[in-house]
Symmetry: C2
Subunit: 437 residues, 2 copies
């Protein structure tokens, strides 16, 4: 992509409500634009990052055998009345009357809808276990939406639902998702901690939040830092290994402030291993048994022919929220610092250009085409402005690698720089090798 | 994918309202499930097809330099009041009050929203031309939603918007999109005819509908069949070639029944070239100048420093509708017949299985893994049922190729069949070669 063609409408005068860094940086780099309170448009740069996150989330769901589908945004109130949540949900649910005065709503979550689909078609234990997921827009009519896309009203979420015959098997589905989440957040360049959590309005008896570390996080967290030594790589997607994984994580103290107890902390964690920091919730998983299947009469025939309520769990990852969460976790000195896996571009080429001498731009275009032909997602800054301004701009954008085409280059060597590291003078083949890694 | 794991909840008792073939077939093959009137869930099989269509639509938008972004589904009524369409739009617009009693709506289209984004950030002709697109859910509160996803309330659509300094350049943007649409529909395996159209509620003075041929189509069409001899391949994305393309298409008579005139038809088209058939609208493009930029005061500074209203066009493709439209255009004798580009799977392996002899299933699993390793999207029917039932089921599903593992196979040769063609006995390497084409 040529920067001169890329639509990055930068917000220069930050609105007063842009209080946190990710919100400010997303506006300053033209990633999003507010459409109305708590509702945002995703402009090309923000859209690209969100799609890269979505792809990683999707791949890790597929890897554990979850099947993708897509439920609509607008739901009938009927199924919510069946489950008993229609009244419970309160004003955060966006309620709608259609032209025929039917009570509809914009789905804040999909337990009811997936249960309805499941009960209408699955009758036998033979089709279990099943895990379904979809990645769809949701709406929560927050009274005070804030922090940009971190706490907005219309948000993009991956939600998955598991169906099992009994609790044992349901815990296996739960563990699979636990595993998929650890892998997902790792690929996103994040350090995540699974924490035992309250089940809240979803209900049920087993739940974990996945919290990522960020100094500016909303939740205070207290943990044993040895939890970070657990390597996800040593587990595999089978029941024994997954059980071991859950056991290994549960050995370490890790709580948010609502559950924190200083005495407990001191007793369970050596002073030297204690870590008090902040974090952002990016995922939440629940096992809730027959909380929905019972009121909605969702049964299957078990082996002995008896009707059994299916045992369900649900599993959410905030895809749009993750864009902001990654910025909060990674930014350095007021500048973005994108992990390679989700950066809006793999690399940016920055030629020093002036009206009298276009030779650097020509060289840059050649490199640009070479890299594109290798399947590398490259941005070329073809705008005529001072190199100082260019550096400022690209430091702010935080693309992981820069190729600088200025006075230091020779016929076939370029200045190549990984963000926050020293530049080196090297040739295109080595650059391609590093970028393809 | 193993068929035993795939969630295909087949609707056996078709509802009375499933009157057209695509609706029936989508229910019979478990592609969709109705959630409420005119609102559908996309189950795994339907979801896969829709995503493949979306990918082709996206690639052809990118090929003409359109930039992808994503606007929210819920809009404020304010911008619709500015354009003057809030009252015009009538009951088809799903109107919503949020908890603070602000007037919101579920976007049926996005001219206002994109104009608002554009006017707030682009001030100079230097940033023109621009084409933006997004692929997002829309809602039209149809009084009588019908024909399944063909005329539903919540639907998935690609809508693009062009911004130009003057009419000449705007027509170039229009022609680019015309070109992208021809290429898109061709890749989807469809024969499309661009027809001069009324501009309707969008307004403006230049408009084409893209109609695909289908015996069961909603519109009657009258055309000179020589229009199908025009090969899209001979045009390229530059202004002269695109002008020639538009001229070439306009030479041939092609109208829907609202514009049909028998005398005209006979005068302009030789009897032997006359084609009367039916079609389905799958795309619609509009040039409407300053219809929105003027009331919404969206201007740029032109070269001579004067403020000019930008000249806009909008361009829609019904992505969810296309799933049904492709079925209508392609089905044969009550069975699906998917074009290779959007088939839910590239190939299905059908082993004849019985309890006493699992050797065919073992062979099938080996072929399955070989094909998957080559990046081929393959379905394996691992279900134990009679081969006759299997054939019936797979004829209905319409996957383009079948590998049959029954009595006719030898150690390294398999029965390989393209739908509607004779089977041949061949080896895995030749099969891979054909599937990778």
């Amino acid at each position: 992509m040529l920067l001169s063609k890329l639509f990055i409408p930068i917000t220069k005068d930050l609105p007063a409500e842009a209080k946190i860094k990710s919100h400010q940086l997303m506006l300053r780099t033209g990633m999003i634009r507010q459409s109305s309170a708590g509702i945002y448009s995703w402009l090309p740069l923000g859209f690209k990052v969100m799609k890269k996150i979505e792809k990683i989330v999707r791949e890790e769901q597929n890897n554990i055998g979850a099947q993708e589908m897509l439920m609509p945004t607008i739901q009938s109130s009927d199924i919510w009345k069946e489950s008993g949540r229609y009244d419970d949900y309160g004003e955060e649910m966006l309620r709608i009357s259609d032209r025929q005065n039917r009570e509809m709503l914009y789905g804040p979550t999909n337990e009811e809808q997936i249960t309805e689909i499941f009960r209408s078609s699955v009758k036998s234990y033979k089709l279990l276990p099943q895990i379904f997921y979809h990645i769809q827009w949701k709406f929560r009519d927050e009274l005070r939406p804030r922090f940009g896309v971190m706490r907005c009203r219309e948000f993009y979420m991956k939600d998955a639902y598991s169906f099992d015959l009994n609790e044992n098997e349901a815990v296996l589905s739960y563990n699979k998702m636990f595993y998929a989440y650890l892998k997902t957040f790792k690929r996103l360049g994040l350090r995540s901690i699974p924490m035992k959590a309250e089940t809240g309005p979803i209900g049920g008896d087993l739940s974990h939040e996945f919290i990522i570390l960020a100094d500016t996080g909303e939740s205070k967290i207290y943990t044993d830092k040895r939890i970070f030594n657990i390597s996800t790589d040593k587990y595999s997607n089978d029941s024994n290994s997954l059980k071991k994984m859950r056991d290994d994580f549960s050995k370490f103290y890790a709580v948010t402030d609502d559950k924190f107890n200083q005495e407990d902390f001191n007793k369970k964690v050596n002073k030297g291993d204690q870590l008090e920091t902040k974090g952002i919730e990016v995922g939440h998983i629940f096992y809730f048994g027959d909380k929905y299947s019972k009121p909605m009469n969702c049964t299957v025939d078990s082996k002995d022919g008896k009707k059994t309520f299916v045992k369900m769990g649900s599993y959410g990852v905030g895809v749009s929220r993750l864009v902001a969460a990654i910025i909060e976790a990674k930014y350095v000195n007021d500048k973005m610092k994108w992990p390679k896996s989700v950066a809006p571009f793999d690399v940016v080429i920055i030629p020093s250009i002036n009206k009298k001498d276009m030779s650097n731009l020509e060289k840059a275009l050649k490199v640009y085409n070479d890299l594109r032909n290798k399947g590398i997602d490259v941005l070329l800054d073809d705008i005529e402005e001072s190199i100082t301004n260019k550096f400022k701009k690209h430091d702010l954008l935080g693309i992981p690698y820069q190729i600088i085409i200025g006075s230091k280059i020779t016929q076939d060597k370029f200045e190549f720089k990984e963000s926050d590291k020293e530049a080196e003078i090297t040739d295109i083949n080595k650059i391609i090798k590093i970028l393809k890694k």
